[in-house]
């Protein structure tokens, strides 16, 4: 008795878990697709570089003491007139473009991830509640989703941004701007999660394992999160990955339109916006390099999302 008891108490060990992950179909399909591996590498490089920006960036674009207007409008180092200190050239304030890209990706990725998490949590919770409760609650939530989806995401984001300007005044501090962006992008993406989760919840809630849990008096909230949620998150992961790319793009769009992060704390979108003013003056590097980074990041994340969708779809195996 004693030995079997011990065996039952032991939870799955870390080593077993790693072995299970390495042997899974997901890893197999990942290793078979070269495009996916490349996409994962590009994503990893940009994300790691962004995370380590304070360590690897040659200049701190936020430190005004390091900036000199004499260094402004320098072309990339390999062109005539280039300066070896500024690998990808400098912008109109004399900031190193390479360093601002590193710090800008940091902002873009942070907003994208936070917005996706926010949209995911909101959408999953509302979808679970709508699907499980049904009736009036379901109708109210889903009609709200319908109305929400008739507005373009960018319009909702602009609306919230405008409201926050009215609330906090034009001189909003950077912390507030960050969370306003997260809120406005998150609020425009929850509908897809809610619809997907609601659909799966409608199927799962009538399965007998939910009835068995209800029979022993488990509370509805506990049933939702411990029984139903693990069985509906699969599709949500795919949506979340693709939405991450969308959120980064939306943030860039808003920043490009001047609604997003200020030029003192630029994201990739802000950098492109700054650069486009000088594009026709021949100073293409200020806009083009952040643009390439944004395109590479979004494309790579999108490819990862596509792979995940196919890999998790049993019909395509």
């Amino acid at each position: 008795m004693a030995d079997t008891t011990a065996l039952l108490v032991t939870r799955i060990t870390t080593r077993e878990r790693i072995r299970a992950v390495l042997g899974s179909d997901l890893v197999y399909s990942f290793l078979r697709s070269r495009v996916t591996i490349a996409a994962a590498m590009v994503t990893a490089i940009i994300v790691i570089a962004a995370l380590l920006a304070p360590l690897i960036a040659p200049h701190d674009p936020y430190d005004l003491r390091q900036l000199s207007l004499l260094d402004s409008h320098n072309p990339p180092a390999w062109l005539s007139g280039g300066d070896m200190r500024f690998l990808l050239g400098t912008d109109d304030q004399g900031r190193d473009v390479f360093s601002t890209i590193l710090y800008g990706s940091r902002q873009s990725i942070a907003i994208g991830v936070m917005a996706t998490l926010f949209a995911g949590m909101l959408g999953i919770s509302l979808g679970l509640i709508a699907g499980y409760t049904g009736g009036t609650v379901d109708a109210v939530i889903m009609r709200a989703a319908d109305i929400q989806s008739t507005f373009p995401a960018i319009l909702i984001a602009m609306l919230i941004d405008g409201t926050s300007r009215a609330l906090f005044g034009e001189q909003r501090n950077e912390q507030i701007v960050f969370w306003v962006m997260v809120l406005s992008i998150g609020l425009s993406f929850w509908v897809q999660y809610a619809r997907t989760v609601r659909g799966s919840t409608l199927v799962e809630k009538n399965k007998d394992y939910v009835l068995a849990a209800r029979l022993i008096g488990i509370a509805p909230v506990k049933i939702l999160f411990r029984h139903v949620l693990p069985n509906v998150v699969g599709p949500v992961l795919v949506i979340a990955t693709i939405n991450l790319a969308l959120a980064i793009i939306t943030e860039a769009t808003l920043s490009f339109l001047g609604l997003g992060l200020p030029s003192t704390q630029p994201s990739l979108g802000t950098l492109i916006q700054i650069g486009q003013k000088y594009l026709f003056a021949g100073e293409w590097w200020i806009a083009i390099f952040p643009g390439i980074t944004l395109a590479a990041l979004v494309l790579a994340v999108n490819l990862l999302g596509d792979w995940l969708r196919d890999a998790l779809n049993p019909k395509l195996r």
Binding site: M1, L8, D208, R214, L215, I216, G217, H227
Partner: protein, 345 residues
């Protein structure tokens, strides 16, 4: 066996009151189209009577079986008995406590521990994302039966061994088990909170024939061992004959005949029961001609007037077409049939 030590009280006191009393139980489902469609298309409400006037009682340590074709309302009755569906009419009384009476909330919560259910499809009744030991441990944790995690693990191990599984397999997920093994896990879960009354909703109909007998025998062993009371839902008469002390035959939501198992198989009274028994394959090879079941179950949204069985009944007369027969007692059986009442058959 520390899990199961508190067996049912001695037999002497049990004759006094049946453990489960079902009185005049009925359930109507609204299957109308949405309100807006009804308004624009001028459609009336459509009500489906899944069960009506169902009355029976189950004594302690007895197995009562409900049989009937698909759509006869067996599962609806089962779900009302355990409290998963609220009845429209009537009530379920378990050990003297009415399940629909708001005043007995505390009593009902205590009762919940004593009632369990084994579901039809073991592929749907176990959460695919949970390991077997967590599935079996859920009632233990929910009712706070085990004091510690070690105690829970010990009891789960005992339960798994009890239903003939290796406790070491507890770390596996449901998809790693066969159908029969899954149903054993479901039975272990049902036994976890030490119940007295288990509702079995076609527990073997999703299993291979070879596995069915093993599960049925396991259930009978457990019944003898712990003094369990079963409400056994099935459409399989051979299974029912093996398991039940008494049988209720359902047709279109109503009980048409309730009789002790032996009597029903020896002398079926209601024409519908006769029809069902005539259709059972003859394993003794007596050469008796088998009559297939004739006709179809009518739509329960629009049941025929009078006796609901009259369109398929060879003995139906004018009275059967207009008047609903009431239950009458003949011999040991309760039957709803004008022909039996009038002595025509």
């Amino acid at each position: 066996m520390s899990v199961m030590t508190s067996a049912a009280p001695p037999l002497a006191s049990e004759a006094a009151r049946p453990l489960v009393e079902v009185k005049n139980l009925g359930r109507v489902f609204d299957v109308s189209k949405p309100w807006l469609n009804r308004l624009t298309e001028g459609l009336p409400r459509r009500l489906l009577t899944a069960a009506a006037e169902v009355t029976f009682s189950i004594n302690k340590r007895e197995t009562f079986a409900l049989v009937g074709e698909s759509g006869s309302g067996k599962s609806t009755v089962a779900k009302m008995v355990v409290g998963l569906i609220a009845p429209t009419t009537g009530e379920v009384i378990i050990d003297g406590v009415s399940m629909s009476d708001r005043r007995h909330d505390a009593d009902r919560r205590r009762l919940r521990r004593r009632i369990q259910m084994v579901f039809q499809d073991p592929y749907a009744s176990l959460n695919p994302r949970w390991r077997a030991l967590d599935i079996v441990a859920e009632p233990l944790r929910a009712f706070g039966i085990a004091q510690s995690e070690a105690e829970t693990a010990k009891q789960v191990g005992e339960l798994l061994r009890l239903v003939g599984l290796d406790p070491a397999d507890g770390t596996k997920y449901p998809h790693e088990f066969s159908g029969g093994q899954r149903q054993r896990i479901a039975i272990a879960r049902a036994l976890a909170c030490n119940p007295e009354f288990i509702v079995c909703d076609e527990p073997t109909s999703a299993l291979d024939v070879s596995v069915q007998a093993q599960i049925l025998n396991l259930m009978r062993d457990l019944q003898d061992r712990f003094g369990l009371t079963y409400l056994f839902i099935s459409h399989n008469l051979a299974v029912v004959r093996h398991m039940a002390n008494r049988i209720g035959v359902m047709y279109l939501g109503r009980l048409v005949e309730v009789a002790p198992a032996r009597e029903m198989f020896a002398k079926p009274k209601h024409p519908y029961t006769r029809m069902l028994l005539d259709a059972v394959p003859d394993l003794d090879l007596t050469g008796r001609k088998r009559k297939p079941v004739e006709g179809e179950v009518p739509n329960p949204v629009d049941p025929p007037p009078g006796c609901p069985f009259h369109p398929r009944c060879p003995f139906a007369n004018e009275r059967c077409r207009v008047e609903m027969p009431q239950p009458i007692l003949t011999g040991g059986a309760t039957v709803r049939c004008h022909a039996v009442e009038e002595g025509r058959i």
